[in-house]
């Protein structure tokens, strides 16, 4: 209080700075007579007592045995949520009965869009698998967004679960590592030895044949990721760390996404500006065909496999 100037306000040199400092406030210096706030000071005992009281109140407040209001609220909450869900289900079922019947030839969705996908898809995209052709050529921008959804999901899981390297090492040393899994389980190890190569090769096959047969980057990548999870599960993280650790993960993920992005950008920008596309479509049915679909499928496959494995590793031990 002593630092404030309690003199009569000098009307001549009323300056903004003094007003800002609070040294020349008419409320304080003038005759209006508002006193600065008294600071409430409690001793330690009172503060502790307040805190204990507060905790006591908190405990009783949400204790449904003692507080009838909370009990009634909980019941009402449950009942109203069930009613709300039932209503939503009812409304949606009611709407379904007004929608066009499934498979009817005169439905609104049997229009020029689907027609061109089916009739000209092979010719325009070079992919025998029309679905791949559609999602990776006609609607390539949506699929790029979808791949980025996977990418950002791993980023969020990393924020949530990633441990520092020091903590990770400590955890390994204290044998926490094998808390949830059988250690040196011979059956698991043998099965993994037989199955993992098959699963990985099958995943690669599905990715590479995405434009010829059913499958593609998303499904093949999921199979690859599952194979890697099995391998890590059976052999332990130290074994898989020899060929797939955090650095490999980062390089693989970033290069795959960048590859997709670069091919995509080339495709969008040349397409929009009417510049000729220099990626050949090839002969439909061959493995090296269908223009941008094959490299994009590979990129998507790597990204999906990385995401699957990263989810497993992060949830399992908090690091890659």
């Amino acid at each position: 209080m002593s630092k404030l100037r309690f003199s009569k306000r000098d009307t001549k040199d009323f300056s903004l700075k003094e007003w800002m400092d609070g040294t020349d406030d008419p409320m304080v210096t003038g005759d209006i007579g508002m006193k600065p706030q008294r600071i409430q000071k409690d001793d330690f005992q009172t503060v502790m007592k307040h805190m204990r009281d507060y905790e006591e109140v908190e405990r009783h407040l949400y204790d449904s045995d003692k507080n009838t209001g909370v009990r009634i609220f909980n019941k009402l909450y449950r009942i109203s949520s069930i009613i709300f869900t039932m209503l939503l289900i009812g409304v949606l079922l009611y709407v379904v009965s007004y929608l066009p019947p499934v498979g009817n030839a005169s439905n609104p969705d049997n229009n020029v869009v689907a027609q061109r996908y089916i009739e000209n898809g092979l010719e325009e995209t070079g992919a025998v698998n029309i679905v791949s052709g559609m999602i990776l050529t006609y609607r390539a921008f949506d699929t790029f967004g979808e791949t980025n959804v996977l990418f950002i999901a791993t980023c969020c899981v990393m924020i949530m679960l990633m441990l520092e390297e020091k903590a990770l090492k400590e955890q390994e040393e204290t044998e926490q590592n094998h808390k949830f899994e059988p250690q040196n389980d011979q059956i698991l190890i043998f099965a993994a030895r037989v199955l993992c190569p098959v699963i990985l090769v099958f995943g690669i096959y599905i990715i590479l044949n995405g434009h010829i047969s059913p499958g593609g980057g998303f499904s093949g990548g999921a199979i690859l990721g599952a194979g890697m999870c099995l391998y890590a599960n059976a052999m332990g993280f130290s074994r898989i760390g020899k060929w797939f650790n955090e650095n490999v993960y980062k390089i693989a993920k970033i290069s795959a996404l960048c590859m997709y992005g670069l091919i995509g950008s080339y495709f969008y920008i040349t397409g929009a500006n009417g510049i000729e596309n220099h990626i050949p479509l090839g002969i439909p049915g061959h493995i090296l065909s269908s223009g941008i679909i094959l490299p994009i499928n590979i990129a998507v496959g790597i990204e999906v496999a990385c995401t699957m494995y990263a989810f497993y590793a992060l949830f399992r031990r908090g690091g890659l």
Binding site: Q37, D109, V113, Y138, G145, G261, Y268, G271, A272, N277
Partner: protein
């Protein structure tokens, strides 16, 4: 085609690339990339804005080799490019203003992820603004939701994780509703592209065959986006998410994320379903009532708060209520008022959050009201920022908030059925705003013993002071040059249809 037409697509792709590359870098590099990226986006969007202003028409950009109903498309008009520029500026300022706090609150080796999230968030905001395809909008809504969730929980304490989980659950309910609505629309029209859906809807709205699915689709998409942008009864996730996350996140979430969804809703009103059908469907009356309720109850909740950050968060509920109330009026003027209020609220709320953090910093880190007494003297620039923000929210002339309030009142006068409730609630809400904001302003300028906490001078926080000054300038720009901005909004809305 002019080279400028490439800029919207290039800015979206650049943001995605920036995010991808930053994920492999250290935090300093990620920060630099992020800042350069946002600046580039601002420049590109501003150039496109000037271009659309000069040509006076919007343009469609085909993403790939296949035109309209087969491939993806984005569309840039005056309103879209203006919004993109504005969002970029607010995002840059929010990140710079909260940078110091970010280093205190977030683990050092996870900060680079914060910039990755922001890059992707910006890309999704741009995509939501520019998109001309409902499914692209849905994909980028997903990115937006997950990024926002990460922004909340990057500061790891119990409250933020709880808030993030709550946000995730509520927001996914909204996403689900939007997806169902897109499915219904696809089923009855057979298109995903906005302009094609509109053509088909205009032709089928003459018959009664699909009346019920169309109404339910409109209701679902409105409710879905309302949940995501925290309209009054769906705002349960908001106070914790804004109140406890790190300050840049709070500013970005309140001023950009929710506004991106609202802008998408405007786009759907005008470009997918058609404003006449929306007006006839009575769904906007529900939005109108929710908006009015939000204007009062949001302010009442804010009055009860003893925590500055949470008070500002609850004030967002009231302001979102204003925006939806403008939609509910169902007229062109109402929509213009709402869009202007989007700008006002984005500029003001981020200013309030950023300056509140400066005030709490000189109050021993406590966010409680009692501790903040006299903090306006200890951190002068933050005090000025908070005062400007408060006066703008209350609606004093020369500040941005005044213009949006007067626009709402004018819009109400042109709608005889809804005039009285709007004017009454507008008055009550203004008084309530004044009560809780001016109470805080008076408190931060009540002198106390200065020896309690150490003051912070402007010289010690140059970047922060610059950011606050920029925010204040934006506020005055919106408040004093409003006729020009309103002209742009009007022309942009005309380009929509």
């Amino acid at each position: 085609m002019d080279i400028v037409c490439n800029f919207p697509a290039v800015s979206i792709l650049l943001c995605l690339f920036g995010g991808i590359i930053s994920s492999g870098l250290k935090q300093v590099a990620a920060r630099i990339i992020n800042a350069v990226l946002i600046l580039t986006v601002i420049v590109l969007s501003a150039t496109t804005f000037v271009y659309t202003l000069a040509t006076g028409s919007s343009f469609v950009y085909v993403m790939g080799r296949f035109p309209a109903p087969w491939g993806n498309e984005i569309r840039a008009g005056m309103l879209e490019t203006f919004m993109a520029t504005f969002f970029g500026i607010i995002m840059l300022l929010s990140l710079l203003g909260g940078e110091k706090k970010l280093h205190d609150e977030v683990e050092e080796d996870k900060i680079f992820l914060y910039y990755v999230l922001n890059d992707l968030l910006l890309s999704s905001l741009l995509a939501l603004v520019y998109t001309n395809d409902l499914f692209t909008a849905y994909v980028f809504i997903e990115i937006n939701t997950i990024a926002a969730c990460g922004l909340i929980m990057i500061r790891q304490n119990g409250r933020t994780i709880e808030a993030a989980v709550r946000y995730m659950i509520m927001s996914l309910l909204g996403s689900g509703m939007i997806l169902l609505s897109i499915c219904l629309l696809y089923d009855i029209t057979g298109h995903l592209l906005m302009s094609n859906i509109k053509e088909t809807i205009v032709s089928i709205s003459h018959y009664d065959t699909y009346y019920i699915p169309l109404t339910v689709a409109i209701a679902l998409i409105c409710v879905g986006l309302a949940i995501k942008s925290a309209l009054y009864p769906f705002h349960a996730w908001l106070p914790d998410a804004y109140g406890y996350s790190t300050v840049s996140s709070a500013a970005i979430l309140s001023s950009l994320v929710s506004k991106g969804y609202i802008f998408l809703l405007i786009k759907i009103f005008y470009r997918v379903i058609g404003i006449e059908i929306i007006r006839d469907s009575k769904v906007i009356n529900i939005l109108f009532i929710f908006g009015l309720a939000g204007m009062i109850f949001g302010s009442l909740s804010a009055m009860k708060e003893g925590d500055i950050r949470r008070m500002i968060a609850f004030s967002s509920v009231a302001q979102i209520g204003y925006i939806y109330m403008g939609f509910g009026l169902g007229t062109q003027v109402g929509m213009i008022a709402s869009i202007f209020h989007i700008l006002t609220h984005a500029a003001t709320k981020s200013l309030l959050f950023i300056s509140a953090i400066g005030l709490t910093e000189v109050s021993g880190g406590s966010r409680h009201f009692n501790e903040a007494t006299g903090s306006g003297y200890r951190n002068k620039i933050a005090g000025i920022g908070f005062t400007v923000g408060s006066l703008s929210m209350v609606g004093l002339p020369a500040f941005a908030g005044f213009i949006s309030k007067i626009l709402f009142a004018q819009a109400a006068l042109k709608n005889p059925h809804k005039m009285l409730p709007v004017l009454i609630v507008l008055g009550i809400s203004t008084i309530l705003n004044a009560i809780y904001f001016l109470k805080t302003v008076i408190r931060i300028y009540t002198p106390v013993d200065t020896s309690l906490y150490k003051p912070l001078t402007i010289k010690k926080q140059k970047l922060y002071s610059c950011v606050i000054a920029m925010f204040i300038m934006i506020n005055f720009f919106l408040g004093l040059m409003s006729t020009r901005v309103i002209d742009w909004i009007t022309m942009g809305l005309e380009m929509f249809s």
